[in-house]
Structure formats: C-alpha cells, structure tokens
Symmetry: C2
Amino acid sequence: MISKNKQKLISSLAQKKHRDKNALFIAEGNKIVLDLLQTSLKLEELWATEEWISKNQTIIQSNSSINECTVNELKKVSQHKSPPAVIACFAQKDHQLNIEELAGKLSLFLDDIQDPGNLGTIIRIADWFGIENIICSKGCADCYNSKTIQSTMGAIARVNIHYLDSASFFSNIKPLNLPIYGTFLDGNNIYHEELTSNGIIVMGNEGNGINPSLEAFINQRLLIPNYPTNSETSESLNVSVATAITCAEFRRRAF
Amino acid sequence: MISKNKQKLISSLAQKKHRDKNALFIAEGNKIVLDLLQTSLKLEELWATEEWISKNQTIIQSNSSINECTVNELKKVSQHKSPPAVIACFAQKDHQLNIEELAGKLSLFLDDIQDPGNLGTIIRIADWFGIENIICSKGCADCYNSKTIQSTMGAIARVNIHYLDSASFFSNIKPLNLPIYGTFLDGNNIYHEELTSNGIIVMGNEGNGINPSLEAFINQRLLIPNYPTNSETSESLNVSVATAITCAEFRRRAF
C-alpha cells in the first residue's frame, strides 16, 4: 500500500519547490522506471502492482524500498491520465560544477529553454554525444519535472545539469578562454566554420532565441543552413532538433 | 458566435474519422493559426475573440469566414486545457503522389511513427531540408492530429504527406532504382558512407525501430555514431532527433 504520508509526499513532488526541498523526484511508468533503476541514481522508494513486481524480480530483487500497492492507489498519486503500473521516487543528483573541469570539454548552455520535453530531449542528446555538463539559465524548465525525466529516457543519470546565473557563469569562465558558440538565424554556415573539441554551445529560448544580453559573450555565431539555401521554409528548427544537429556536427569532426 | 452545428463539427474533428470524412482539420491558438494563415492552405472558417480579430486585422482583412465569439464559446470546443483566443478550420491538402516524381528527390519514409509530436517535428525538419514528400506507413499518427499540426509550425502546408501501404510502396518504386537508406543501431557510420542527393530515408517506430519486413528493401544501413564511440550512453536517439541529424548530413554533402 501507499501510506497517507507517502501519498502526500508523491503528490507534492509534482511541484518544483517540494522537489527542491526534499531533493527528490518522481518517475512514472514502466519504461522510464526500468531505465532509471539501471543507472547510478539512488532509489528512495518504489510502489508497483503485484504483477509489475513479479515481472521485474531480477531487477529489483534485494531492494527493501519496494512496496506493493493497488492500481487505485497508483491512480490517486499519478500525474498521468491512465495510471502507470509503477511509480518510483529517486534522490536528485548532488553535483557541484567545478569551472575548471569545463576547460577541455564540450558543454551546453541553455538559455531559458521552457518546454520540459525539449529539455529532456536535449539531455538525451547530450548523453549520446558525450557532453557531460549542461549549464541551464535560471529561466529554464526544471530537469526533475516529470515530463523532462520522461524525455531523458534515463540520460538524466549520466549528464550533470547545473542551474546558474547566466551573467555570472560567463564571467567566471572568462579565464578559461573557451570558444563560445551560439546558433543564430543570421549566423555563419556551420559546415564552413572551424569547430573545436572543447567550448560552450549556447542554445536559445524556443520563441525568442538567445537573450541579447548574452550575445556579447559569444565569439562564434553558427547557422544550420536550410536546403536549398534561401528557399521558402519554416521560420526555424525546433530547439532540440537544432541542438542535435549542432552537437552531431561538432562530434563529426572527430570521425 | 459559434453555432450549435459548428460546435459539433469542431468537436468532431478531434477524431480522425471525422477529419477524413470532412477533409478538414483544426488548428488552435495564436501562433499556429497565424503561421497557417500565411500559407497556401485554404481557410474554411475561423472563430476568435474580438480582441484577437482587431489585433490581426491586416492578416485576415477581407476574409468572410471570420467569426467573432466569446472565450467561453472557444473553451467549449477547445481541446486545450486553457482556451485559445482563436480556433481555425482548414481544408486538408489534396495531393496525389506520382511515383516518378520521387526519382530525382530525397524523400522520407516513416514506419509507424506513433507520437503525433514526433510526426509534426519530422514534418518541420523535412520542410527545413527541402524534402517535399513524406510517405507514412498506415500505422503512423495522423498528420492532421492537432498535436501534429501544432508541432509542424506551419510546415504542413509545404510538405506533402502520403499514407500508403508499405509493401506496395516499396514494390512500386523498384523500377526507379532509388537508393533506400535506413537508420539502425548496428548500421555503418553515416559519416563514412556515400550519400546521394536522391533516394528514400526510412525511419523506424519509436520503440521497435524499422519493421523487419521492410529491411529487405533497404540497401544502405546507416548509424549515427555516439561519442566517444562505445561509451556508456542512452540506448538510442529520439526518432525526430535521428531524422534531423540524418537529413542534415545528407544536405551537408551539398555544401
């Protein structure tokens, strides 16, 4: 069963302030819970139907935080329309950013990415392309939002997300002399630019692009050209799609 | 106002069978409606608040299908949680695929892409990269689903979507001798492969990849390598992300 107290806790974790206070987050549904159970993330507690538990014995075997409960109980605390067979509560990661560690690496800076799904997809992309650190402006969606967690497909466990004040961050990394890239609709064709294996790639907000106050920090303006050039087309690419193409192009240079 | 009959019609268009029967579809909300109004799509009828109409006079000026209504009326017929200021009904596109027109072009084949958001994002990607035709297996989401329409950001007007039986389609294009590409987790590094400026790129279902029954038609198996190669990472990339990177790489060869 799910005790009254735990019901309260699970429901409260739908809100960022309670996630922050408890340093916990919720994952709902078979696929994402199984993905996360196979990472280094610390499971706090898990509630599932008898059927789910017996099906997944090998994965959860000796774990004492497993609780059997009914579909109705899951329905009560679920944020989904149709109740999942399993809900799990994990500890948030505790990782401090050491600025120096960015020196030799490629990292992402997200400027007010607001859609939780986009953020999750970007975390999954970063994981695929070996980008260990994502710096998020304070205006970004929360990486522990359940939609974000769902879209990361488990990548949240392997990528470090840091929420920092944008201006302070860019001032702090100045001594590293890192190349700072940004994507713009009037940038230079990315395929003709020199791209380094370290640096920061800045991706802008869904509707407004990169905040003008950050442009001064950017020393290379990139464009993903449409095809054929100058043909009538969409105004822009979705930000997670643009992030994917940009990261792929940086890594392609290494092959 | 929105008459009782129109209310019924709008609500019914949330279902594919009614969209198909009437050859209509619905777009909800300021951004997507404005995007679509500026394309070649035929507007059937539009309902909006007084405020929205006066703000957008220049775009809708001489159009007789514009109806003023209240927020409450919009709320009644909306599929969104918070009612939009505008709802519009457009005619579906009427485009027959002529197989021969694929000969010199790059096209996409989507195999059971089930998420409407993924489908919409892929349509937007196709538009960016000058891919005029997308062939969808019968198991794909409907391109006139409101979530798909929303994610296309207007690209639905410029890309032709054809729902066809997979096996018949691949048999029918045999005489064209087109290269057929597919992305696989055990394919060949896309950056080392020869990619042509025409052909078909097959993208597989979100959970299951490309249907085994289609593999025989594919003559080049591609892989988007993760970085660093063989490091521990996500199982795969999201299908719209993989489509974006693949299409970008095909078009990059032309720059």
